[in-house]
């Protein structure tokens, strides 16, 4: 029974990971989401160093305070065409802006993650379901 349960669990993980890739693919058309731990949500507070409006993904480079200095986090978003359709623009996030960002971190422990949502210092909500600046 234990072995059967374990096999079922393994199948479930595989199916979910393929799902993740395919669900994500129409949006980012690029890679499996298995590299991110989607069971974990990490909140990062920092300063925007760069907002890359690029294919196949947009990226927020965030400088986060850490013992002994700052650490740079690379936060992966969906593709520009998809963000644009959701109301985002290349100027939606500005360099130097203070952001609180929720991410699903990468599993390998490096400073990276998948964007979930964000709130700017002036209270703007930034997410995939809402246009930047819109009230949630």
């Amino acid at each position: 029974m234990r072995r059967a349960g374990s096999a079922a669990c393994r199948w479930a993980v595989i199916v979910c990971e393929i799902m993740g890739w395919l669900i994500a693919s129409p949006a980012n058309a690029h890679h499996s989401a298995a590299m991110f731990d989607q069971q974990k949500a990490l909140t990062l507070e920092g300063t925007v160093k760069e907002f890359q409006w690029t294919n196949p993904h947009c990226w927020i480079e965030l400088l986060v305070a850490a013992p002994g200095g700052t650490r740079q986090w690379s936060i992966e978003m969906i593709a520009p065409s998809q963000l644009y359709r959701l109301g985002w623009r290349p100027g939606s996030i500005r360099i130097g802006e203070q952001l609180t960002v929720v991410v699903n971190p990468v599993r390998d422990g490096t400073q990276g993650g998948q964007f979930v949502s964000a709130i700017s210092a002036d209270g703007r909500h930034l997410g995939y379901g809402i246009a930047p600046g819109a009230k949630p």
Binding site: A12, I14, V15, S25, H31, M35, P56, A79
Partner: protein
């Protein structure tokens, strides 16, 4: 003949030649004008498929299938549901030999796990999955051809000027295959051969041979819905025709087709794992 008479004959001949020239040139111009007006008339009879199109049905089916399914209770069924969500990733009427191969592939947990962990693609899948994948595309129609222009930059050409496929020696397999078509009223009928053999989709879908032959009927169902009824014949893989119907909606919240691509790819696979590269 006197000199005067010879000059008169020459003038008469030149006059006749000039008249003939006027008639010939005038005739060509008239024919060109007629041909142009005929082309304009033909153009005017073609349907309006302008705008941007998206296959929303596949995406919705995908979400619905998994919203209802509990993978922990029956994982194999979950995987089947995954393949059911995209019609072209479904279960075709395989010959017994290919049916066995299909079932074996579903049992290959290691291969599926590898795909799940490192699956990555920077290109639009070739035909026929290009027509189902939720990529955005435009349809450009002129009397001589119809073009499917995808946001990845890939283009599918369908020649509609009455040409048939090139002879075998002039043709070789390509990702999109070779497509010729004709209009039956406002329905575009497309015939496609010489698709590169192999699985549909990203290595996960049904296997097709070099003999796969596709017939499509595209037509508008209402003002904003386009349908592609596709029939696939593959004498080396299937026991009968495989029929698939795809539907597209005209996208309302986009003012232009925006290019996708991989020019700034920051997700290399290192030691078998996808990682994030530094900016």
């Amino acid at each position: 003949m006197s000199r005067l008479a010879r000059v008169g004959r020459i003038r008469e001949t030149l006059c006749l030649l000039s008249l003939l020239n006027v008639l010939i040139v005038g005739g060509s111009a008239a024919r060109a004008a007629q041909s142009e007006s005929e082309r304009v008339r033909t153009f005017g009879q073609l349907p309006d498929w302008t705008g941007i199109w998206e296959n929303v049905e596949a995406r919705q089916a995908f979400i619905d299938e998994f919203a209802r399914h509990d993978p922990s209770s029956d994982p194999a069924a979950g995987l089947q549901a995954l393949f059911r969500s995209f019609k072209l990733m479904g279960h075709p009427p395989y010959t017994p030999e290919w049916e066995n191969s299909y079932r074996a592939r579903l049992r290959d947990v290691a291969a599926l796990a590898k795909t799940a962990a490192n699956g990555k693609s920077c290109t639009l899948p070739g035909f026929p999955f290009a027509m189902e994948w939720a990529s955005l595309f435009q349809v450009i129609i002129v009397p001589e051809q119809t073009l499917f222009v995808f946001d990845s930059g890939a283009v599918r050409h369908v020649r509609t000027s009455g040409q048939s496929h090139p002879p075998p020696g002039d043709l070789w397999p390509t990702e999109m295959g070779d497509s010729v078509g004709h209009w039956e009223g406002t329905t575009l009928v497309i015939d496609t051969i010489e698709r590169t053999p192999g699985p549909i989709g990203f290595g996960q879908g049904p296997e097709l041979s070099e003999r796969a032959h596709f017939t499509e009927h595209l037509r508008m169902l209402d003002a904003d819905t386009l349908e592609d009824r596709m029939t696939i014949e593959d004498p080396l893989r299937f026991t009968r025709l495989w029929e698939v119907s795809l539907r597209y909606r005209r996208v309302k919240n986009l003012d232009r087709l925006i290019a996708t691509g991989c020019e700034h790819d920051r997700n290399p696979v290192v030691h078998g794992h996808l990682v994030i590269a530094p900016p």
